[in-house]
């Protein structure tokens, strides 16, 4: 896929969407309107969007606990995502998933999993489905530096390698698994070095540069699509906020100096400057994009705030797929106590 000027502007727009979306989440959470733990993508927009724009809309994607940005990067509608974060019935998961488990099948997002590393085998399986059905799809898998220490990572990469699956593993190395630094917890200098153990290419790129990520992931997608098997791309990035909203970790595990150096390289304004310098974007258009994105996020918040909470009875619905099981004959069903097993 070629990065035309319009695609570059779209790249910027999606990064901005994630930034404004999560800033709105932060505000809503401050007002007590986002229940549970919310993990913001802020700081990591470049790697998310760079990778998502290197795949097609119908390619599969699997995220993790820090995943507000992934469906947005893949082009999801903001309204239903925001409604989900607020636990509303119009939410993309109908209020059953929340911040850590967003899924939007309409953009290929097969769901996020908050058990660190557990999405990696799932993405691998989606790649297996693509290979078996021959539909030419690719599976894009996002996980962090912490997840690369999980057995699931190693088992899944081994499977993908031996079966030459069309999978692209993107490690979002934001340097910390909650407070534990990757430099202390990962046995190699770069997570991408682990690719060698599975006989697949591994590359480490600047995760704050969306074009660098796009190019590395794009090369991996090309390989996958050509039947040449999986790749691992490590994007070095940083989360600007605490691990989760509302969390106040007493120990200072990140120095002011370190945080400051990453904030200076904030990917969103620096990409805007770069597009302006290159003449892709002028100030007027940049402002217009910003206004459009702000309006989109405001509409999403309004939609979410105005949406109803699910009826409490909905807790008992949807445990199984909607096809009515032929299991219990009507005469017996009448005797069955009300329970999700027969829902």
């Amino acid at each position: 896929m070629e990065l035309t000027d319009e695609r570059l502007i779209e790249m910027y727009r999606r990064m901005l969407r994630i930034r404004h979306f999560d800033e709105a989440v932060e505000k809503l959470a401050g007002r007590g309107l986002v229940p549970g733990a919310a993990h913001l993508t802020i700081g990591q927009e470049a790697e998310v969007v760079g990778a998502c724009m290197a795949v097609r809309a119908d390619d599969y994607m699997v995220g993790n606990h820090r995943s507000h940005g992934h469906p947005i990067g893949k082009g999801a509608d903001l309204k239903r995502l925001m409604a989900e974060l607020m636990g509303k019935s119009t939410g993309v998961n109908r209020g059953k998933g929340g911040s850590m488990h967003l899924a939007d099948f309409s953009v290929g997002s097969l769901g996020e999993s908050s058990i660190v590393g557990s999405g990696i085998p799932v993405a691998t399986g989606a790649a297996l489905a693509a290979q078996l059905s021959g539909d030419g799809r690719v599976s894009l898998c996002f996980f962090g530096d912490g997840a690369s220490n999980e057995g699931a990572f190693h088992e899944a990469l081994n499977l993908a390698a031996i079966w030459r699956l069309p999978a692209v593993y993107v490690c979002e190395n934001n340097q910390y698994a909650v407070t534990t630094p990757a430099r202390e917890a990962v046995s190699v200098a770069h997570v991408a070095d682990r690719a060698a153990a599975y006989g697949m290419p591994g590359a480490t790129v600047d995760g704050q540069d969306p074009v660098a990520v796009f190019e590395a992931v794009g090369a991996a997608v090309g390989r996958a699509r050509a039947g040449e098997g999986p790749s691992l791309v490590e994007a070095e990035t940083y989360r600007f906020h605490e691990h989760a909203l509302g969390l106040r970790i007493p120990a200072s595990y990140r120095s002011e100096e370190e945080l400051g150096s990453w904030l200076e390289r904030d990917p969103v304004p620096s990409f805007a400057r770069r597009l302006i310098e290159r003449g892709v974007l002028d100030r007027e258009r940049a402002e217009r994009v910003e206004q459009e994105v702000r309006a989109e996020v405001e509409q999403a918040v309004e939609f979410a705030e105005q949406s109803a909470f699910p009826d409490p009875a909905e807790a008992f619905e949807g445990l199984y797929s909607p096809r009515v099981p032929a299991a219990v004959p009507a005469a017996r069903a009448a005797h069955e106590h009300e329970g999700a097993h027969h829902a």
Binding site: Y60, V62, G91, V92, N93, R94, G95, K96, G97, H101, A103, D104, F105, L110, G111, S113, I115, S118, I120, P121, V122, A123, T124, G125, A126, A127, L128, A129, A130, L132, S133, S139, G151, A152, H154, E155, A156, N158, L159, I162, G318, L319, Y320, S321, P322, R323, P325, A326, A327, V328, P329, R332, A333, H335, E336, H337, A340, H341, H342
Partner: protein
């Protein structure tokens, strides 16, 4: 009608569904070789893409099966020994059981997980588990536990066609037992118990390998003039509580036999349900016949006496009849 083994029933269900639906495929360790026989010859017939050997990585390949199911395929995963399920527990509990609900109905997980309860053969503590009750406590999983070749073929057929994850606990003590099975395909609905023998004095609800023991107990007690009804739930989730309550309403007495460890067994759940919903029909306390809460030892003399037998079930029935006499 011809007779085939339990394992052959499993084989026939898999083969018929693979012929019927291109999306159905098998995954498992050593599945091409078909170590225990349930997939023998299928790799030659359907090719290695649809009969896939997997490396030893239970969590990895269960997760891959889940991902393939989310993307529209219909995998059957043969875990072989049931204790290997624990290695893949994260995927089973956090992904496979939860995806449909947690993703708000966008996901379907048409996945069958087969696991053999491989007890009674001196394979000791780590290879002899009967862990079906553990998974009954995980909403979202359907669980079948066939007790003969006919049910194995019919229930597994339904499981493969089902759009939800179904765990099939195969009782390996029954693998070689033969029963009359039609050659053509048929599907037994989940959540419907079978009365394996009609009777009037007491109900024995028997799970998996306990069913033949219960039938033996019924034969023995018939000689004493006692008439036993044997109910096989066949699927534990959904559980046909109506059929169990109906039988208890008729007999007034209940013994529940389950090869699992006693605490929080399927027998416990069935007993609790009848105590809650059928108390008025009971004329004696419910008795559970299960495996005591100890590990499974290696030496045959230590192991064999731990599991439910026809004699233990018959004694339990006698005790419920005695409880009436004592009133």
């Amino acid at each position: 009608m011809r007779e085939i083994s339990y394992l052959k029933g499993v084989y026939e269900a898999q083969r018929a569904e693979m012929l019927r639906d291109d999306r159905v495929f098998l995954m498992g360790e050593d599945i091409e070789a078909g170590v225990f026989g349930s997939s023998a010859g299928l790799a030659e017939e359907f090719g290695r893409a649809r009969v896939r050997n997997v490396p030893l990585s239970e969590n990895g390949f269960l997760g891959a099966a889940a991902g393939a199911a989310l993307a529209g395929m219909r995998p059957i995963v043969d875990m072989t020994i049931a204790s290997f399920l624990y290695v893949g527990m994260d995927q089973l509990v956090s992904i496979i059981a939860k995806a449909t609900y947690m993703y708000g109905g966008q996901a379907r997980v048409p996945l069958v997980v087969r696991a053999a309860m491989f007890y009674g053969g001196s394979n000791a503590a780590q290879h002899s588990d009967r862990p079906h009750p553990m998974f009954m406590g995980v909403p979202g999983l359907k669980i079948i536990a066939p007790s003969d070749a006919y049910d194995a073929k019919g229930l597994l057929t339904t499981a493969i066609r089902d759009d939800d994850p179904v765990m099939c606990f195969e009782d390996a003590t029954l693998w070689a037992r033969k029963a009359p099975v039609p050659e053509e395909e048929y599907a037994i609905p989940l959540g419907r118990a079978a009365v394996k023998r009609e009777g009037s004095d007491a109900t024995v609800v028997a799970v998996a390998g306990c069913v033949p023991h219960a039938l033996r107990a019924a034969d023995a007690l018939a000689g004493e003039g006692v008439s036993i009804e044997v109910v096989d739930p066949r699927s534990l989730v959904p559980l046909d509580t109506a059929a169990i309550l109906e039988s208890v309403a008729k007999t007034g007495r209940l013994v529940v036999a389950d090869p699992a460890h006693r605490t929080c067994s399927a027998a416990s759940e069935i007993s609790a349900t009848v105590a809650e919903e059928g108390f008025g029909d009971l004329r004696a306390p419910i008795v559970r016949v299960a495996t005591p809460d100890v590990q499974i030892p290696f030496s045959p003399g230590l192991e064999q006496r731990l599991y439910p037998t026809g004699e233990r079930i018959a004694d339990a029935v006698r005790s419920t009849l005695g409880a009436v006499a004592a009133r």
